[in-house]
């Protein structure tokens, strides 16, 4: 009985006190008027250069995905909540997409975090990293920070990863990084070749883990390509990384993931889900269900990529066989001078990629319209007389 009395008096006091708090109540009440705020269009933006330097999807994630974020953030409250539990929902959604279990999936703040975790987990000063000499730099950069030696294996003449040489270098290594298709060279190694490579590494370097970064998977058009996800879920020494930053159009949302064997995934996710943000989680959950949008995006990219490669070819510059949303072109002059000149005319192209920075440039694929504008600039910069298109 005393308890009951305490409750009642507390409630009464609380009520009186709450009614007396004008400012705080207003803070909360005003929020009700915000419903729908996020759905109104934002202010117009001033023009900016063509962004062909970071391999982004120029269309972004699309309104359906963004609407899911707008709904989830609502009047703001959810933005103030830690999203740890929702990461489990995202893992389940990704697992569903591949027909695997949530235990096969770990997410990160972009695939960059996943790649770093892999280097941290599987390498050491005594167990080197093996990577292509000219590949996505995240793994080697992190290896340098933590004192892991890097065995950099030169690409072959077609600027493809040299799988034989990499398998040879894998002996005694902790981690072998295979970016397929490879950034920045845009080239692909076939599914069969990757299969043979994994088997060879497993037999010659039984302790090494193979990390296959399939960031550009959705842009591949070469029929010989095969994702290694199905194999990774069964193989404790194989992990596949993917990202929402490319074909999903969510570079700003910072969500990447890895799929693999539960034991490997558990070791890989040592930092936990703390770097994942609510907008990214919601967007990723909406986007991963929409395979049709990825196919449309791939078709759009393929057309703009074809146009760009053809333009360079007609202008006398050879590109590699791009299987991504960028092209790697032998312009026969330093990338820096080309980049600086393009920037002055409103087009941004990519950074230097040593050892090919004196001859090659990476250009991301924007919309077809953007590529028409960009190639007009390239024509002027490269002093091409009769530019195609």
């Amino acid at each position: 009985m005393p308890r009951k009395e305490a409750d009642m008096s507390f409630t009464r006091r609380a009520f009186v006190k709450a009614v007396g708090i004008g400012g705080a109540s207003l803070l909360a009440a005003r929020r009700e008027a915000w419903a729908g705020l996020l759905r109104a269009p934002g202010p117009a933006r001033p023009p900016r250069p063509l962004l062909l330097h970071n391999n982004e999807n120029p269309l972004g994630p699309g309104e359906a995905v963004l609407d899911s974020v707008r709904r989830a953030l609502g009047t703001g409250g959810p933005a103030g909540r830690y999203p740890w539990e929702d990461v489990a929902q995202l893992h389940a959604a990704i697992a569903d997409r591949f027909g695997v279990a949530p235990e096969n999936v770990v997410t990160g703040c972009g695939s960059t975090q996943v790649l770093r975790e892999a280097v941290q987990t599987f390498t050491s000063p005594a167990k080197p990293l093996v990577a292509g000499q000219l590949t996505y730099e995240e793994c080697a950069g992190y290896a340098d920070l933590i004192g892991t030696p890097v065995r950099a294996v030169a690409l072959d003449r077609a600027l493809k990863l040299d799988l034989d040489a990499m398998a040879e270098a894998a002996k005694g290594a902790g981690l072998v990084f295979l970016n397929n298709p490879n950034n920045p060279t845009a080239t692909l190694v076939s599914g069969d070749a990757v299969d043979r490579f994994i088997e060879r590494v497993h037999s010659t370097a039984p302790d090494a883990v193979v990390l296959i970064d399939e960031a550009y998977h959705d842009y591949v058009t070469d029929a010989s390509h095969r994702s290694q996800v199905p194999r990774a879920v069964k193989d404790p020494r194989l992990v596949v990384a993917r990202t929402f930053s490319k074909a999903h159009g969510m570079a700003g949302m910072r969500v990447g993931y890895a799929v693999g064997h539960p034991e490997t995934i558990k070791r890989l996710g040592w930092e936990g889900p703390n770097a994942l943000n609510v907008a990214g989680i919601v967007a990723a959950m909406a986007s991963i269900k929409d395979q049709a949008r990825l196919e449309r995006e791939s078709a759009r990219n393929t057309e703009a990529r074809r146009f760009t490669i053809d333009w360079f070819a007609k202008a006398g510059f050879a590109s590699t066989d791009s299987q991504t949303n960028f092209v790697f072109v032998d312009i026969g002059r330093p990338a820096k001078a080309f980049r600086d000149a393009c920037r002055e005319q409103g087009v941004l192209v990519a950074r230097d990629f040593p050892p090919l920075e004196k001859s090659h440039v990476r250009v991301s694929i924007g919309t077809l319209d953007e590529m028409k504008q960009a190639t007009a600039v390239f024509g002027r910069v490269l002093a091409v007389k009769a530019a195609a298109a």
Binding site: R3, I21, L37, G42, L59, G76, G80, N277, A279
Partner: protein, 399 residues
Amino acid sequence: MPVSRRSFLGAISPGTAALSPAFVAARGREAAIAGSAAAPGPRAAASILLDSNENPLGPGPATMEALRGAFVDAGRYPTNARPSMGDLREAIARRVSVKPENVALGAGSWELLRLGVRLYTSSSRPLVTAAPTFEQPEKMAEQLGVGVRRVSVDKDGRLDLDAMARAARWGGLVFLCNPNNPTSTVHPARAVADFVARVRQESPDTAILIDEAYHDYVTDPGYATAVPLALEHPNVFVTRTLSKAYGMAGMRVGYAIGQKRTIESFGRWAITFNQNSLAVAAAVASLDDPGHIEAERARNTEARAFTTRFFKDLGFKVMDSQANFVFVEIGRAARGFKEDCARRGILVGREFPPLHMTHARVSIGTIDEMQKAGVVIAEVLGGSRPVPAGSAHDSRRPR
């Protein structure tokens, strides 16, 4: 006012958005989200969240307005978004009155706390931390196999700065959480400055991390930020977060302030692109709207006073809170209390050893939430009242 509770139902498909909360409660989220959902966690199932020291209202109107305009850059890396990560560093620098070169960004201050442990401790130079305090640094030390020296708080829940200074000798990093989570107490500026000076003198190679996550909720006039100390001394740095008063826990924005060289190493080690493009826009707008933070502090101060009085009226000792949570001597195990509250839809804080058998942490929600939660908490604690209600006010410490 409806209970401020997050739900992703609207996010999954337009159809499910129409489901009423009652329907969802009856069917569960698994039923509402066909196919792919994992089992809902305890937070999704609870009606009032007083477990994670969040701002129950989320960010303010200027922030929401900025967020709206940022959706066009969702597909752009945060270095390309407008505003960009660089703009965010400048906004923080403006707000804290430092240069952008003194600001490192983190995916929440979590990332920077862990980096601090990684950069300044080793197998021969342990982490010095308090017990209890925020656990992330010691978790990182354990993951790295680095030693941890834990210094118990005093009987009022204050960090024992004297003992921590002694423990700091030959230490790699001292973690000073001010106000301290979970005990909610604060040390005045003078005490922090003396502590830094002493450690700098007695153990000059020991770094000092001062975590000011709850800075914006402090009302004690003796408190001041340690940012000037971080600018003055090498290897002293302050971490802050937008997860608390700024109401952006879901957006993952934190920062560290320190000398240029310290900050540069954070920059090298931090996750590449550790900011969400939407969060960058929201954070810049929040930082440029200090009036909203003052209003949020006032809101929290009132709800905190209400909650503190509620516990004292029930006969429980409450530490002097300078944060958006209270640490209460409930006289029973925190775990049982938490479970009993959870069964009634209220989530309260986790266990904080070595005080987990006697104390519980309860975050401050809105007044409305605290009123509703109070009914449940009074019911749960009804049988474990430690002292006669009449003596409650006697236990107040002089301030």
